[in-house]
Symmetry: C2
Subunit: 353 residues, 2 copies
DNA sequence: GTGAAAGCGCTAACAA
DNA sequence: TTGTTAGCGCTTTCAC
C-alpha cells in the first residue's frame, strides 16, 4: 500500500496533459468531452503502464458518494441473514458497491448504535431488517433523507421502500397444508411482536383456522422474547395438554422451530405420527431431524436483487414508498404425514409418500 | 444527508478561530497543542450545538487511513463464519473500525476477486480465511505491505500473522475420545486439501490411531471437493463395507458432517449404538439429530479479539509473523455412547450417562 | 496559544 | 479539443 500509488497527476505529467483530461478518459467521458482518440489511447496506455487505480477516497470526497451501503441484519445466525448476505454481496459486486454488514441482535439499542456507525461512515444507503421498537430511528432516516430499504419485516403504519414475503398468504397456505392433511388442531407458536411479519403470519393462520371452523385461542402461543428455549418448552407442554390435544404445530420462525424441535426430540414425540410440524423459514437443522421438516422458503436471491434495485433508485433520488411482496414457498418434507405442494396458483398438488 | 453538514470551517468561523485550532480540540490534541482551556470549551460547545460530526472521507484522504478492514470468510453458511463475524463486529466496534465482509465460496478465483475489491476500497487491513490455492494472492499482499491476519487455516510454508486452532491436538483428542469409548475402527472423513487445518487434523488422527495400533489406510477418506453430498455418501458406504466394519466416524468439518449425518439418517443407522460420531466444528443441526452430536468448538470470540489485536499491530507497522494457537474444545453430546470431557490438561474426565 | 496555508487526489465548471 | 483552476473537508507544518 505504501507503493506511492500513481495518481492522475503522475499520468498527466508523463503524457504531458492536464489532470482533467486524464480524469475524463479514465472515467469513460472521453467521447462526451470529445477527447481525441489518439490522446485517449495514450492516456489509457500510460495509466495501464503505471498501474493506476483511482483513489476512491479522494473521489468520494469530491463526489460526495462512497459507493458503500450498510446492511443491518437481525442476527448472523438466522438462515435468512446468511442467505440475504450472499445475495446482496453478489448484487453489490455487480453494481460496484461495497457493503458493511452489522447485526442488531434483535435489540433496538444495538440497532440504533450500528445505524449511527453506518451513517457516520457516510454510506450512500441502507438495507435494514427492522427490529421491534426501531420506529424512531427509521423516521429519523426519512427526515435526514438517507435512502433505505426495509427487508423481511415492515413496521406497522410506516410507508417506505420494502421487500417482504407474502406472509399472510403463506400463513394461510402453511396452515391449510396441515389442515388438509391428517391434522385439525393446529397450534401456532410465534413471538409477541408488532413487526409485520409476525402479525401477517398470524393473520394467515387465523383465516385458515376460521374457514374450517377450528379456531381456538388456546392453540395460539405468542412468547415474549426471541431467544426462548424455555418459553417454547412451556408452550409445547401446554399445547400437548389441551383437550382435544393439539396435533400439529406451525412455528412462526426458524429459531422457535429449532428450540421446539430440540424439545420434541427430548420428549420422544413421534413426528409426523403424533405431531405434525411446519415452520416458516429455513434451517440446516431441519434435514437432520428424525424426519425432514416441512418449511417455508423465501426467494432470497430475488429479495436481494430487488432490494438493491430499490435502494439504487432511492439513492438516485426516487421518492420511495415502493412495497414489493415476494412469494414464500412451502418446501415439503416429511413432518406432516402426507406430502403435497402448493402450486403456483395456490392449488394443492398431492404427492404420494 | 443533504443537511449541509457542518464542517470544521463553520465552527471556526462561528467561534472566530482557525480551523486548525478546532481540529486540535476535536481530536483531543488540545493539551498536546496547549490550547487554552476556555477556548477548548467554547469550541467543543459550538461543535455540539452545530451537531458536528467529522467527515470521515476527508479525514481519510488526509490521513491515508480509512479505519475500515476487510473480512473474507469461506462461506457465510459455516457456523465458523457467523461466529467469527459476530466476534469481529464487536471487536471492530470497540476499536472504531468498520468491516466489509465478503465470502470466497471456497473458490480461489472469487477469493482473488473480493480481495481486489477490498484493496481497491483502501481497507487498512484484512482478516482472511484462506482458500485452497490462494498462495499467490497472499504473497502479493506481503509484497504490497498490506497488513493481514489469517484465521482458521494457514497456508503451508507461509510465515504470517495467524490465529488457528490446535487442530493437531484436537484431532488426536477427538480420535482418542472414540478409541477410549467402545470404538476401535475409527473412520476419518475429510477433504483433499493442502490447507493446514485439514492436514493437522489428519496428523492428530493418525497419531492417535497409531498409538493404539489401529491404523488402517482404508479408514481414511479424503474427498475431492467441498460440497460433497455424493462423495460423502460413497465414503460412508465404503467405510461401512469394510471388514472389520468401521464402527465410528470423525468428520473433519461441519459441512461434511451434515452431509454425512443426513445420509446416515436415511440409512437408518443407529447412532451411537451402531456408529459413533464426532465432528470438528459446530452446527445448529447437531442438536436436532436423533441424538446430539459430539463436536469440537473453537473459541470464536477469543479468535476474533486476537485477530483484531494482531491486525492493529500490523497496521501500526509491526513486523508480523505471529502465530497464535487457540484450543478447540470437545463439546460432548450423545453420539459416542459414553460421555466424558477432555479436561484442561487433556486428561479425560468421565461422566455417567 | 493561535493561525495561515499547503496540500491529500480527484472532479467539474469554466476558459481558451 | 484541451487546459486551468477552484475547491471537497480535513490535518499538520511552520510561523507568529
Amino acid at each position: 500500500m505504501e507503493k506511492k500509488k500513481t495518481s492522475l497527476k503522475d499520468i498527466a505529467e508523463k503524457v504531458g496533459v492536464s489532470t482533467a483530461l486524464v480524469s475524463y478518459v479514465l472515467n469513460n467521458k472521453a467521447e462526451q468531452k470529445r477527447v481525441g482518440r489518439e490522446m485517449a489511447r495514450k492516456i489509457r496506455e500510460t495509466a495501464e503502464a503505471l498501474h493506476y487505480t483511482a483513489d476512491r477516497v479522494a473521489k468520494s470526497l469530491r463526489t460526495r458518494k462512497t459507493n458503500t451501503i450498510g446492511l443491518v441484519v437481525a442476527d448472523f445466525n438466522y438462515q435468512y441473514s446468511r442467505g440475504i448476505m450472499k445475495a446482496l454481496e453478489a448484487a453489490c459486486l455487480e453494481s460496484n458497491l461495497s457493503m458493511i454488514c452489522c447485526s442488531s441482535q434483535e435489540n433496538n439499542k444495538k440497532f440504533a448504535e450500528v445505524l449511527k456507525v453506518l451513517i457516520d461512515r457516510q454510506v450512500d444507503g441502507l438495507i435494514l431488517v427492522p427490529v421491534e421498537g426501531c420506529e424512531k430511528e427509521i423516521l429519523e432516516l426519512t427526515k435526514q433523507k438517507i435512502p433505505f430499504v426495509l427487508i423481511d419485516r415492515a413496521l406497522p403504519g410506516l410507508q417506505s421502500n420494502r421487500v417482504t414475503a407474502n406472509n399472510e398468504g403463506a400463513g394461510y397456505g402453511f396452515t391449510s397444508h396441515l389442515l388438509y392433511g391428517p391434522y385439525s388442531r393446529v397450534g401456532f407458536i410465534s413471538c409477541q411482536s408488532k413487526l409485520s411479519n409476525f402479525a401477517d403470519r398470524k393473520k394467515g393462520y387465523l383465516t385458515a383456522m376460521k374457514i374450517v371452523d377450528r379456531m381456538d385461542p388456546l392453540l395460539i402461543k405468542e412468547i415474549p422474547n426471541l431467544h426462548p428455549d424455555e418459553e417454547v418448552r412451556e408452550a409445547i407442554d401446554q399445547l400437548l395438554a389441551l383437550t382435544p390435544r393439539c396435533d400439529s404445530i406451525l412455528f412462526a420462525t426458524e429459531a422457535l422451530a429449532v428450540s421446539g424441535l430440540r424439545y420434541i426430540n427430548q420428549l420422544g414425540i413421534k413426528v409426523p405420527e403424533e405431531l405434525g410440524i411446519v415452520s416458516f423459514e429455513e434451517s440446516d437443522a431441519f434435514e437432520l431431524f428424525r424426519c425432514s421438516i416441512t418449511h417455508g422458503r423465501q426467494p432470497l436471491d430475488r429479495i436481494g436483487r430487488i432490494a438493491i434495485h430499490l435502494l439504487k433508485q432511492a439513492m438516485n433520488g426516487a421518492r420511495g414508498g415502493e412495497q414489493t411482496l415476494v412469494r414464500a414457498d412451502l418446501h415439503v418434507g416429511e413432518s406432516c404425514g402426507e406430502k403435497w405442494d402448493l402450486g403456483p396458483g395456490g392449488e394443492r398438488r398431492w404427492r404420494r409418500r
